[in-house]
């Protein structure tokens, strides 16, 4: 009986042991832990925005236009008397959505392409790698702004534009990792086991590059968040009256001299979110790097 239990439990124990080691290493990095907590806070705010926001983002209070902080409006109101805190909370939702979905989109599209290029090499690789280089030659934001302008301004299109803009980076990483990993002896060993290409790619190569992909994702999300803000500020992203950090900045711009706080709040939110994800991603990279001993 005890033997049976042990056999069922053992594989999970091995996985858990690794997780515990990684957690221990992660907890040793206060910056990364802080980043994770702040990032998590933003995600929670985004998910529960309707419950957390005291007002709806479009609710106008004409008795308090450009009002300072008060018990009624914790962060004051904007030029139309809308509650800044509520708009900030709803804006978090837009920013997180764009950040996460743009990154997911880029991963789903780019990873298979990059892996095919790296695994088969030859002319397929030549074509994909050159196209990637061409795309990478455009600065990320220029590419995203151009795409968003073509697609038309909306939250979905901003996500698409930023996602497509993130694709070449992911392709390059997936391709590079595949090129390295296919040289490991367990790949020819799998061939000798009778594995086909799909088995080799998905069972032997992909699981070994998840670390790199996770790190790349946590570093792409802040890029997309920042991108969303910029697109919305330029008017090719989220459209007013929908609230996002970018639109808030844009709307605050004419009042820069009278009510700087309207620019400061969304600005701080953007900085905090981007910094949190970046710091968390950096910490994660260190922890997952097999050469890390600490």
């Amino acid at each position: 009986m005890s033997i049976v239990v042990q056999e069922i439990e053992a594989p999970r124990v091995a996985g858990r042991r690794r997780l515990r080691l990684l957690t221990k290493r992660f907890l040793r990095r206060p910056m990364a832990v802080g980043g994770l907590l702040v990032a998590l806070a933003f995600v929670i705010v985004a998910i529960f925005a309707p419950l957390l926001a005291p007002y709806s983002p479009g609710h106008t209070d004409f008795d308090a236009v450009l009002a300072h902080s008060s018990s009624k409006h914790l962060l004051g109101t904007d030029d139309l008397g809308r509650d800044v805190l509520s708009r900030l909370i709803w804006g978090t939702r837009a920013s997180m959505q764009v950040g996460v979905f743009a990154t997911l989109l880029a991963m789903v599209v780019a990873v298979p392409i990059g892996m095919i290029a790296g695994y088969y090499r030859g002319w397929v690789d030549q074509v994909i790698a050159r196209l990637t280089d061409v795309l990478l030659a455009f600065p990320f934001l220029i590419l995203a702004v151009g795409l968003a302008a073509i697609l038309g301004p909306s939250l979905l299109n901003a996500t698409l534009a930023l996602g497509i803009g993130s694709i070449p980076g992911f392709i390059r990483i997936a391709r590079g990792e595949t090129l390295t990993l296919r040289e490991e002896d367990y790949v020819p060993a799998a061939v000798l086991n009778g594995a086909n290409d799909a088995t080799i790619i998905f069972r032997h190569i992909l699981p070994n590059m998840t670390n790199t992909l996770i790190v790349q994702a946590t570093l792409t999300i802040p890029g997309a968040i920042l991108g969303e803000a910029i697109l919305s500020f330029l008017g090719v992203g989220v459209q007013p009256p929908t609230s996002s950090w970018g639109t808030m900045l844009q709307e605050a711009e004419p009042y820069l001299t009278q009510a700087q706080r309207l620019s400061v709040y969304p600005g701080v939110a953007i900085i905090l979110a981007v910094l949190a994800f970046n710091v968390f991603g950096d910490g994660l990279r260190d922890v997952l790097d097999p050469r890390t001993t600490r």
Binding site: E7, A10, P11, V13, A14, R18, E184, D185, Y186, P188, A189, A190, V191, L192, N193, G194, A195, N196, T199, R203, H204, P207, N208
Partner: protein
């Protein structure tokens, strides 16, 4: 035993790599394996010896069809597998496996040892989950691993244990031919012996034929029935172990064996030894005629033949093949060094 059909037959195998750019002068053809023929008999352990860069590993990779041979043929139990597609080859993979040199790179770090060893069964759809677990447990015991090791990840195992896992993976389908590419050279000397013993016991029990590649003469002497010596992509001598160690013919074999140590220091000091000069020539541009002529201590005797004509690998006495102009049936190559006195192998 010699009459049975060979497990593996390799005939005039050639593997060339084109290297570098076509523009400019950097390009060329690397003659990694050049016209190599040998056969691996049923149940035999054939040692392939040669220094680094002599083409041993390329030959092994061609034999298991990881590399496409440039020309020549490979027959597995009489069936030509040289030009089979990867798909057609798949069912035959059951009969042919390989142990890799580096036990750190040959195991997928994301799979447990049990999953790694059970993978061939899974891919060939030979057994359901339960039967697979049983078979894996059985082979683990056979290679000297405990049942608890099945749930370990490769990084939790020692080098010797990893190589045992590699061996278990290669043997779980009960192949008739095993290619072992320097399976112990990445291990500690103390662990080497136990792996070699294991390999020998497994071969005796399971009866597979084994092409054992190494640069270590002590290993082949311990393990192998026959020995093939490789130099710069060519076989220079093939004979039984005892014959090679007692009576090496080819000057390269003689030089190689004279580099092997004898346990008794007094005896070692008195041996006549020959040290080859220089490095092996580049396989990008192998010498004309005999490939060994640039370093051959007997070059004065073999010139001018050896400068122009490539000596064929021919039988000079029963089951003893040599590729040297100075060696022919009935006429021996001059002895230039004393072979290490063979100590009787126990077991």
């Amino acid at each position: 035993m010699n009459d049975a059909a060979p497990a593996l037959e390799v005939e005039s195998l050639v593997k060339h790599f084109t290297s570098g750019r076509r523009i400019g002068s950097g390009g060329g053809t690397v003659h990694a394996v050049d016209d190599v023929s040998f056969s691996l008999r049923q149940g035999e352990m054939l040692g392939l010896v040669g220094e680094s860069g002599s083409g041993k590993t390329t030959l092994a990779n061609c034999v298991v069809r990881l590399h496409e041979p440039t020309s020549g043929s490979i027959r597995l139990h009489g069936r030509d597998i040289t030009h089979l597609s990867r798909r057609d080859l798949r069912p035959l993979r059951r009969d042919l496996h390989m142990v890799f040199q580096d036990p750190y790179s040959s195991l997928n770090p994301r799979m447990t040892a049990g999953e790694i060893v059970g993978e061939p069964l899974r891919l060939h759809r030979l057994a359901g989950r339960k039967v697979r677990t049983g078979r894996v447990a059985e082979i683990f015991e056979r290679v000297g691993l405990g049942p608890e090791h099945r749930f370990r990840y490769p990084h939790e195992l020692s080098g010797g244990q990893r190589q045992r896992v590699g061996l278990a993976r290669s043997l779980i389908l009960n192949p008739s031919v095993l290619v072992a590419d320097e399976p112990v050279s990445a291990l500690d000397v103390s662990v080497q012996a136990s792996i070699l013993n294991l390999l020998r016991d497994l071969q005796r029990d399971m009866g597979f034929s084994c092409l054992f590649i190494t640069h270590d003469l002590a290993t082949v002497e311990f393990l192998c029935d026959r020995i093939a010596v490789m130099y710069l992509g060519k076989l220079v001598e093939v004979a039984s172990r005892d014959e090679i160690f007692r009576d090496p013919e080819h000057p390269y074999t003689q030089a190689l064996l004279s580099a092997a140590l004898v346990p008794d220091p007094a005896e070692q000091r008195q041996r006549r030894r020959v040290v080859l000069e220089g490095d092996p020539p580049s396989p990008l541009d192998p010498p004309s005629g005999c490939r060994f002529r640039t370093r051959c201590p007997l070059h004065d005797l073999s010139a001018p033949d050896s400068d122009e004509i490539e000596p064929p690998l021919r039988e000079v006495s029963p089951d003893h093949l040599v590729a040297c102009h100075l060696s022919a049936p009935g006429s021996k190559t001059p002895r230039i060094a004393d072979p290490p006195v063979t100590t009787p192998v126990t077991g």
